[in-house]
Amino acid sequence: MSLAKDKVGIICCSGEDLPEGTISRVATRLVLEKLRPYETVTLCLPLFLAGGEDERAFARVFPTIAVDGCSKKCAALGTRKFSGKPVATIVVSEILKKYLKSKAKSREKLDAEEMELAMKVAEEIAERVDEVLCKKVSK
């Protein structure tokens, strides 16, 4: 039997109001499925906010990264309110400012250009994951 290895919880806003919410969702899944599948888990924000005790307990014990679509930062606020401050907060709309030629347009399905943006956001999330786990190891 072994103890649970270090994991980072990714809590993304998944907001339906803006295309950036969809990018936050797709980027989070890219991290979970392709970039850092063994180091990350996702916490379902609606369940977390609705009172899911398993999700909240995980966020109290393990480090979390909030991925928000816009400056309202609902995922970060919710995590802080119900479990504890996320170790990092990524705001998609801020990241996208670096890529002025590209723009998020669709809330439902991302086109090839938007998928590229989602991958760039995913890479930033993965960098934060590495930073968090390195810090934990060096402690």
């Binding site: 907001g15 899944r29 609606p46």
Partner: protein, 143 residues
């Protein structure tokens, strides 16, 4: 703020229904719930619905916390946790319709692929649920 919500502020007297979908990350049926909400609010009933985003609703961000109390609500849940319904109930808003995607999936015998890619059956399921929900919206708007 998206088109359907802009319309709501321009013609506040027009009957509208608020749609709240679970948008769950973990399950394919959560992704179907999210897709269903977009089909309803963007394609089938853009002028008689507003899509309410769950995270700011819980964070008590205006105008979401106000809009949810102004209109009858239809919730779309992707799993048995029924988070959308629970969250709306906590706000005190009036839930006039509840859609439970797992039940619809059984009824229509359609199975989505994954949370990341719901696939053709997931798309078809979302369309069918959206069409059924649109009929419910018609009834709610007639009242």
């Amino acid at each position: 703020m998206q088109e359907s919500q802009q319309v709501s502020s321009q013609s506040a007297e027009a009957p509208k229904v608020a749609i709240v979908a679970c948008a769950g990350m973990d399950k394919a049926l959560g992704s179907v719930a999210r897709t269903t909400a977009f089909i309803i609010t963007e394609k089938l009933r853009p002028n008689s619905t507003i899509l309410i985003c769950i995270p700011p609703l819980v964070a008590d961000v205006k105008p979401y916390s106000e809009l949810i109390k102004r209109y009858p609500v239809v919730t779309i849940d992707g799993c048995a946790e029924r988070c959308a319904t629970k969250i709306v109930a906590k706000t005190g808003a009036k839930i006039r319709g509840r859609v439970f995607v797992p039940q619809s999936a059984q009824t229509h015998n359609l199975k989505p692929n994954t949370a990341s890619d719901i696939g053709p059956e997931g798309e078809k399921l979302a369309e069918k649920i959206a069409e059924e929900t649109a009929l419910l919206i018609n009834k709610l708007c007639e009242r």
